[in-house]
Amino acid sequence: MKSKKPKIIILSGYGLNCEEETKFAFESAGGEADIVHINDLIAKPKMLSKYQILVFPGGFSYGDDTGSGKAYANKLKNHLSKELAEFLSRDTLAIGICNGFQIMTNLGILPRALAHNKNGKYIDRWVDLETHSARQDLAESPWLKGIEKISLPIAHGEGHYVASKKDYENLKKNNQIAFTYAKGEIYKFQNLEYNPNGSDYDIAGVLAYNGRVLGMMPHPERAMFSHQSPLWYKNKKVSKEGAGLQIFKNAVNYFLKK
């Protein structure tokens, strides 16, 4: 068993804005994370080969102009297609959170697309999610080990995952559905709609590359600490660690346990 910390690259620039807390989450989980501006990666694309985990963090790249994630994905396509393909062909992990997820669908790394929320408005609130441990039809992934149900915050204007019945069947068949919005603790606590953006088949996150690549609209890095949950005030005597950290720990442990 090797114990060398895995190296994580978190992209930044052009309006991405969750890179700092995402770095903090990965480092709290035991990884070694670098924030790298996309233009620095374009200038030295080979540096990608020294990393094991690639992260597209949340944010508002290019202000969502022309559609969320589109312009940033175009830039990656124009300059880094080969390097991205090479990275994903190795035994690596990748994650896109919120805007990062939107970028990855625009890149074609993850299936389908994200459209405007059903009410047309940006929304920031907490939601409940289920994974394969709770629902047999969902897929397994190194990112999701030990997670059955989890509550995390969402904050987006374009989070409606679009999939037809046929797409849905295909996603299931190919083991690509990571998370679905569900009725859990938050739903019970605040009596809110459980799927606020109207995602088809309640899909909140999807997988590719045998579960190594995860895209999700909710923000696990905003649930690193228990005090970030709206439920915390009801019972403060819990561990200081928040539920979201497990996702980062899973990624780090994937490499530590090799």
Binding site: E21, F60, T66, K70, V162, K188
Partner: protein
Amino acid sequence: MISRIYVMPKKIENKADSYLIDSKLSKKELQKLAEALANPILENYYIDSFPTKELSLKFSYAIEIGFLPGVTDNVGQTVKEIATDLFHLKKSSDFHVYTSKILFVESNKLADAQKIAMTLHNPLIERAFIAKVENKSMSLPMKAPKVVLEKKKPVINVLFEVEDEELIKIGREGIMDENGGRRGPLALDLDSMKVIKTHFEKLKRNPTDIELESLAQTWSEHCKHTIFANPIDDIKDGLYKTYIKGATNLIREKKGKKDFCVSVFSDNSGGIVFDDDYLITHKVETHNSPSALDPFGGAITGIVGVNRDTIGFGLGAKPVANVYGFCFGFPDDERKFFRDKNLTQPMLSSRRIIDGVIKGINVGGNCSGIPTLSGFVKFDDRYRGKPLVFAGTVGLIPRKLNGREMHEKRARAGDYIVVVGGRVGKDGIHGATFSSVVMDSNSPATAVQIGDPITQKKLSDAIVKEARDLDLYNSITDNGAGGLSCSVAEMAKECGGAKVFLDKAPLKYPGLQPWEIWISESQERMTLSVPKGKWGKFQKLMESRGVEATVIGEFTNSGKCIVEWKGKVIMNIDLEFLHNGLPKHNLITSSVMQTPPNPPLIKGRAKGEMYTKIFENLLADKNISGFSFISEQYDHEVQGSSVLKPLSGPGKINTDAQVFCPVLNSKKGVVLSSGICPSYGDVSTYHMATCALDTAVRNAIACGGTLSHLAILDNFCWCSSNDQKRLAQLVESVKACYDGAVSYGTPFISGKDSMFNDFKGYDEKGNPVAISIPPTLLISAISVMPDIYKTVSPEFKNSGDAIYLLGETHDELGVPKVDFEKNLKTYLALEKAIQKELVASSISITSGGFAVALAKACVGGMLGCKVSLNQIALKALSVETKLFSESQGRILVSVSLKKTKQFEKLCASVAFTKLGKTNKSPARNALHNNAGGGRITIMDGKDKIVETNVKKLHKIYHNFSDEMK
């Protein structure tokens, strides 16, 4: 060549985006660009021609809404960047894009389409075009809305050997152009004009237009705050120095070693100690006049503008939280107003102003990755003419780095003057002088701008996350009011002079005159002083971050501000005259207006049912009920720092204070809150101000703030400030600020004023109308708490907890008076109780009094309660007074039964009353079923005076918000 790319969503059939492209791209390249603009899963694209055959079966008209020439088009900028990256276009290459939105309408009546077009666009910034959708085609214009500027003489001399009448006219309406038109308000009065005249007579020449414009900017009320600076009655040093700064100086002296102020009043924000390693900064601005004309643009410019006051603090603080505050006319106010007598310039409706402002803060804050945590919304008919839009930003900056104290900065002679960020256009010309006068039909449309949060985000990241830590510059400031004219002149004070080559400034489009470039308030720009030896590294860094940086001159020690245009000196002014030449006026006030007596809320004695009704109606009041529809559309969790959020508990009530943790590996927290009580000002602006201050402090303490580490900010929004009676009201309120700050030991660290919030226009019949805001004072508080884990939220937590009222209730159904001494004791006791973790919930009592606070605590926790008002006051008070009096200094808390003894002991020296308990049967699921646990009962002696239930109150509390969603 001009072409159009249309992108149409597959699932929505009545909308499309259009990109009008003026370029040399080939057909194949256009195709490639279109592919980059459409997501094939969600959208189709079309080039030049649109498939109208099917559309024409359903729709008759297409309405195209685009920007007027020169208005910031953020999406257009992104498309340009996409194309530049895709085709490796050189920067100078000819590629222009103009975006617009197309909406298809079913009605076949042109008048209907025209009506819809009117509701969709704001003619001050946008254009609408209506085209018939025909079987074969739809003819939208293939013409680029380019800015074409008339060629004018670059610089003119302004003749000053004229009669006073003409001087007044120049000051009021602006410099006369070659063709006889006026350029827009300088807002210089006759005294100022005469001082300028004398100054230039000594120099034996007339001032140039750019010199006069520059003086007008620097001397404007907006920049110099003359009303606060000038002597007033017998207050020789003026209000600001005597009472605001005076309070802070006294408090700092008293605190001695415990003084936590580090940089106050001297920089773009105020800075205080956070911990050994960091400072936190705070600044709150207003952006009222622009928000009245273009609510979205005004508000977004307001929020990204105040972000720059953070980036421009010291050597650059990182924005870590945004705050907002809105004072609007009522959303259902249908009155129509016009800015001109001929009724050709309509004011926007109240609802459009509200929607636009809310969206502006949404886009500005969310796109910048800064959590928008704290905010309030107030309604009053008198905000219908000019809304008040407060926007503030909290920053975080290391105390020391690279051997420098980071809050200190100093441009050095020989440093390059460098502008970074956006380019200069005509937008925002005369913004500073415009906001210093009454709004009417002369208000310039160019004063309106639209913020570009992404350009600023790139700039902000490159500066505060990189260039600052690499020690690449000596000084930095924001380009806000007055543009370059103010930022360069301001920094020139640090070293003693500046020389600018104005033709080097990067422009959005050609043809701007030098004076326009100099004073334009085009957004997203900062000015830096970069040592020559570091310029290469700085420039390279900026380029690699997609940020434009340009050297426009050099700082000097010549004592002068010199501007050249194509090799000719066009401005040469002594810095001393520029900054200190403004003549002082002795302001005079006259006795304050007659004040009406305290209005009795209810006449006679009413029975239980009636109190219940009053109670419920009060909770439905728009000034009291929840506004989750705003809180939820603002990202308040980015940066992973939120602790006490804008909405709390299962019932999601709006919190009066918010807590966040700006340094993730520290348990120290920052508490933000505010107080604003404009309605009290009708009776007494003194008490209005003390109540605002007390409320801000109380709200912060109620959730766990620390009184000994709490600073405050003032934002005065006044009206008709030439009126001596209004000035008298101002003096009263400023004195109140002093009294409050000194009593609590809470220093002012920053402030801003906006003195002319008046609207003069016409109603539908052409009758003149004047609407002035009520004098309004916002006090914002910022406090550091040692341990975020001790934060207390406002909602009731557990069944069976004891409910206490802290503080004294008096007969104050009208305007309450603050007893600072007593309240101070109460706050210190509560602070201690919270530190000892004795308190389960804590809510500050504000508008609507005890009853409303109780309702909110119940709704927040979805718990019922039973309380008795018997012991609430020593004196016999009427039931309505006990319920609704707005006496200050009171907090409603709940305490677990295990801790009541300890709590009561701790509070022994302050007034407290045990009122009752939260209900035993938990109402956790009260929203789902009709279980009776949510009953709320208020008793007075044997009388049941209020009886209702939490489910009903929840609905009432959220009703307004649900309607606005």
